[in-house]
């Protein structure tokens, strides 16, 4: 990034540094060198000392995805390997998907939420996952085969520059990803653009409840692990309003402190962030 950005606030990472940290971390998780996946069980800690956005349980059996809002049936419905335990909620539960709808998942990872959405929208619907980490998209594509899914597709893309045409999507979902973006207002503007009039936004993400210490904001690992990049409820609301969304609701889940606390061995991250359900709608007449 340029000099003026760095001198403006030396403690913050540049957008490029932030993207790189996020990509590298999620590539490591996708390939199993830093993993919560049951397929590539690793001896090391999933979250280690960088923590965040990720359950420290090593395999899916010991991980409790129901704490995030998934039912046992959800977990059983998707072939193993798609649920990496990287979410902080269940955006599908917020979205009330209908048969035949088109769903776009921002930061789809290994595809767990996409496969669940695919069951809801059925054969007449379609689900597209966008992720900027090649290793994750490859893993998701392998999971398409495992799940025999015909209505789910993945593509490499950036959530600030969605490769989806205007007004082609009924529902935008995302799980613990938007906080990782160096340009969140742009993510919401682009989500708004791709939604059809009346289309819905249903996101699970962390929100900031207390200021993060300067040293954490400058730490790429803290940004990549969904803590240092998080915004407050007020900031998020302002971004969503500015993008044009109506009926905006941001509902922090106090009970999420229990699993947020497990994201890091040494720090209690629940002092800084909490998981929230974030919903909004594009006006019918937009």
């Amino acid at each position: 990034m340029n000099d003026s950005t760095e001198t403006a606030d030396e403690s913050d990472l540049t957008a490029a540094e932030q993207r790189r940290a996020v990509r590298e971390r999620y590539a490591r998780i996708a390939t199993g060198s830093e993993s919560a996946s049951p397929d590539e069980e690793s001896a090391g800690d999933c979250c280690g000392d960088d923590g965040g956005c990720c359950d420290p349980g090593v395999d899916s059996e010991s991980r409790d995805s129901t704490a995030l809002g998934y039912t046992d049936e959800d977990v059983a419905a998707v072939a193993s390997g798609a649920d990496l335990g990287l979410g902080c909620g269940n955006p599908n539960a917020l979205a009330s998907l209908d048969e035949g709808e088109t769903v776009l998942d921002l930061g789809s990872g290994a595809g767990f939420d996409c496969f669940l959405a695919a069951r809801e929208v059925g054969e007449t619907g379609r689900v597209v996952g966008v992720d900027m980490t090649p290793e994750m998209v490859e893993k998701a594509r392998d999971n398409v085969r495992k799940n025999d899914a015909t209505n789910v597709e993945f593509r490499l893309g950036e959530i600030e520059h969605l490769p989806a045409a205007d007004e082609t999507v009924d529902v935008v979902i995302s799980n613990c990803v938007v906080n990782l973006s160096p340009d969140k207002p742009q993510v919401f503007r682009d989500a708004y653009r791709v939604l059809r009039p009346g289309g819905r936004l249903a996101i699970s993400d962390v929100v900031l409840t207390a200021p993060v210490p300067v040293e954490m904001r400058a730490d790429p690992d803290s940004v990549a692990s969904c803590v240092a990049g998080a915004s407050s409820v007020d900031e998020l609301r302002a971004m969503l309003d500015e993008a044009g969304f109506v009926d905006v609701a941001i509902d922090p889940k106090e009970e999420s402190a229990e699993f947020v606390r497990e994201w890091d061995d040494s720090l209690d991250l629940s002092e800084y962030v909490v998981s929230a359900a974030i919903t909004g709608r594009k006006p019918d007449s937009a």
Binding site: R20, T102, R155, L156, E158, P163
Partner: protein, 62 residues
């Protein structure tokens, strides 16, 4: 990627249409090929069935 999903795709740079050039396909499924921005002229590869629609400056640092 499925050819039938072309209608919801666009050029990530300027959101204009993309033109599909197929090298290898399996029915509706495009295995290898490329997508070309009709306005930007930017080329986005499709490899192993996955379209790479990252903005060009981000593809470079893969």
């Amino acid at each position: 990627m499925k050819e039938s999903l072309m209608d919801i795709l666009c050029d990530p740079l300027d959101k204009s249409d993309l033109e599909l050039e197929v090298t290898d396909r399996d029915g509706d499924e495009i295995i290898t090929g490329r997508l070309v921005g009709t306005v930007t002229g930017e080329e986005y590869p499709i490899e192993d069935g996955i379209p790479n629609l990252l903005p060009p400056d981000m593809r470079d640092d893969e």
